[in-house]
């Protein structure tokens, strides 16, 4: 090993040490746990891959995966599209008070997910919340956002609210460093705003969009806090297997099925990696 190589490791080592403690050890431990089964009656025994076979045929697990997939397919594009449009609007230079918009739309990111969910939860209330106020004012009957068929959308709204500004800022920051001479050249060619967006801005955003997509995918697959907090007021809409993460949590805290819970965590990790890889591979192929 060369001297430079050794020094590189020294810089990375503290991070890796904590990483090993906080991420790798629990993952390794989960992988180990996933090979056993503990029963209330009968104790612990080695079961090999049985937990994995069970997970593959577990309708509750797959229903949870289906739900977050739907969430991913609908919520992530909407949120990123909104973030993109706002970033472009703010960057266009045609907005009054652009700096104010930029910081204000970003602010929800600073609100803890628990607080955000509590707030929206209060507002969603059709008995006493804003929904009731609206119903009474306009003499309508709005659908209850906490009904089983709408609750996923209600959660999607909360996460969009929390993260649209965050994604907007990342995209906007990328637009800020586009070389201004490109715009000047385009202007000389007589290109309009939309052409500039298509020819210059969007290509410049390819990398940041990929990053935000990746984080959003991981975030969707790990959806947890919002459903947990909302369950208090929507117990029949949010099932204990609402998202894979919730399911894993419920398995260990509600049912003491630590082994199977660990299995679900491992399978979900692999699935997330797979999806992230596929999206990235596709994006890179398109770019080539």
């Amino acid at each position: 090993m060369t001297r430079r190589s050794w020094i590189g490791w020294q810089f990375v080592a503290p991070f890796l040490a904590v990483f090993a403690l906080v991420f790798l050890a629990p993952i390794a431990y989960s992988a180990y746990l996933s090979l056993y089964r503990t029963k209330l009656i009968g104790g612990t025994s080695f079961v090999g891959a049985q937990n994995y076979t069970k997970a593959l045929h577990d309708p509750q697990f797959w229903s949870a995966v289906g739900r977050v997939s739907l969430f991913l397919i609908v919520q992530v594009p909407i949120m990123l599209l909104l973030a993109l449009l706002i970033a472009l609007a703010i960057d266009s230079g045609r907005l009054y008070g652009a700096a104010f918009f930029r910081i204000s739309i970003f602010l929800p990111y600073a609100v803890p997910a628990v607080v955000a969910t509590l707030m929206w939860g209060f507002m969603y209330g059709s008995q006493f919340g804003l929904i009731r106020n609206l119903n009474e004012w306009f003499g309508v009957t709005l659908p209850d956002p906490l009904a089983p068929n709408l609750v996923l959308a209600a959660i999607g709204n909360i996460t969009t609210w929390e993260f649209v500004g965050y994604n907007m800022i990342i995209l906007y920051a990328a637009l800020r460093v586009v070389d201004p001479s490109l715009y000047e050249a385009a202007a000389i060619d007589g290109a309009g705003q939309f052409r500039i967006i298509r020819a210059i801005k969007l290509p410049a955003l390819r990398g940041p969009l990929l990053i935000t997509t990746m984080f959003s995918i991981i975030g969707s697959f790990q959806l947890f806090t919002e459903p947990v907090v909302l369950r208090t007021i929507a117990p029949n809409a949010i099932l204990t297997y609402f998202t894979p993460n919730y399911y894993a949590w419920q398995l260990s805290v509600g049912g003491q099925q630590f082994n199977y819970s660990a299995t679900v965590a491992v399978v979900m990790g692999l699935l997330t990696m797979l999806v992230a890889y596929l999206v990235q591979a596709r994006a890179v192929r398109k770019a080539v």
């Binding site: 991070f15 460093v177 991981i218």
Partner: protein, 302 residues
């Protein structure tokens, strides 16, 4: 970080001066459209502020987006700080402590590692990336119980370490610092310092850190948000209420209503939440200049 980075030549472009950007007419249509979005983001915050002025009774009996008859904000704030022997202040202090040590430590660790990954070609570098990326995909809440069992074996559950150690690890921060170190620290400066015989860590702290400072502020701010918002790990790790961070404390106040014999204090939950996000929002507003330029350099070089 997830993408195989298509590294462009490291043209270290400064963000354009604002003057160059102002061109063309302002558009009312665009402003109105963006205002719709603004209302959407501000509405819940407005609700929070308005609700914080209401009593427990007024909270549910009055229209959510307008003030109730009596203005109880000061009273609510007073009660938040005195309720249960003033434990809120203790929680706030804890959070600040966790944030300083946790987010500060996380920023330092990721700055070191990001710099190491960006500026040293070493064997195993790719493996480091692969492992970190893979691990990020595993949901941490699903790992909560295994983590608890491991920490219990180490005897650190129900201590401040159970909160601090996990918050030292924020992968997004590593990504940010890595990209930032790659672009903001010129190799030539490092080489000339080495020729002068400076040690690598001295070079890092004396030369690289000043260059990295916008990135450090950015990473620090984002890490503060992550640490500040930490809920479920403390929930499972801590028994001693005196160690709770603020979010967990507020969560328990909210849950109190579900407890037989528990006090119902939704007004304190709301006012407490408002007070808890004020410092974060203030930090973002005050440090705006730093983190926005930090992100500008950090995010673009894919």
């Amino acid at each position: 970080m997830v993408a195989a980075p298509t590294i462009r030549p490291a043209a270290r472009r400064r963000p354009r001066p604002a003057a160059v950007r102002i061109r063309g007419r302002k558009s009312w249509t665009l402003t109105v459209l963006t205002t719709v979005m603004l209302i959407y983001t501000m509405l819940p915050l407005a609700w929070l502020v308005i609700s914080a002025t209401k009593t427990q009774d007024g909270l549910l009996s009055s229209f959510g987006l307008w003030f109730d008859g009596d203005f109880a904000l000061l009273d609510n704030i007073g009660r938040v700080f005195t309720y249960q022997d003033g434990i809120y202040l203790r929680w706030l202090g804890n959070t600040v402590f966790y944030v300083v040590i946790g987010a500060g430590g996380a920023t330092l660790l990721s700055a070191l590692a990001g710099y190491g990954l960006a500026k040293f070609e070493f064997r195993g570098r790719r493996a480091v990336f692969a492992v970190i990326l893979g691990a990020v995909a595993v949901p941490p809440t699903a790992l909560a119980v295994p983590t608890f069992l491991l920490f219990a074996k180490a005897g650190i559950t129900d201590t401040v370490w159970a909160v601090i150690i996990p918050s030292l690890m924020i992968p997004f921060s590593l990504y940010l610092m890595w990209v930032f170190a790659r672009d903001a620290v010129p190799d030539e400066i490092l080489e000339s310092a080495r020729v002068d015989g400076a040690g690598e860590f001295r070079i890092f702290f004396n030369l690289a850190v000043p260059l990295l400072s916008p990135g450090l502020v950015t990473a620090l701010l984002f890490n503060i948000v992550v640490t500040w918002n930490n809920l479920f790990l403390p929930l499972i790790m801590l028994k001693d209420r005196q160690l709770y961070p603020i979010t967990l404390g507020i969560y328990t106040w909210n849950q109190q209503a579900q407890t037989v014999g528990g006090d119902v204090v939704f007004n304190l939950v709301i006012t407490g939440s408002l007070l808890a996000i004020v410092p974060l929002i203030a930090a973002f507003l005050l440090l705006q200049r730093y983190w926005q330029s930090g992100l500008a350099v950090g995010s673009v070089k894919q």
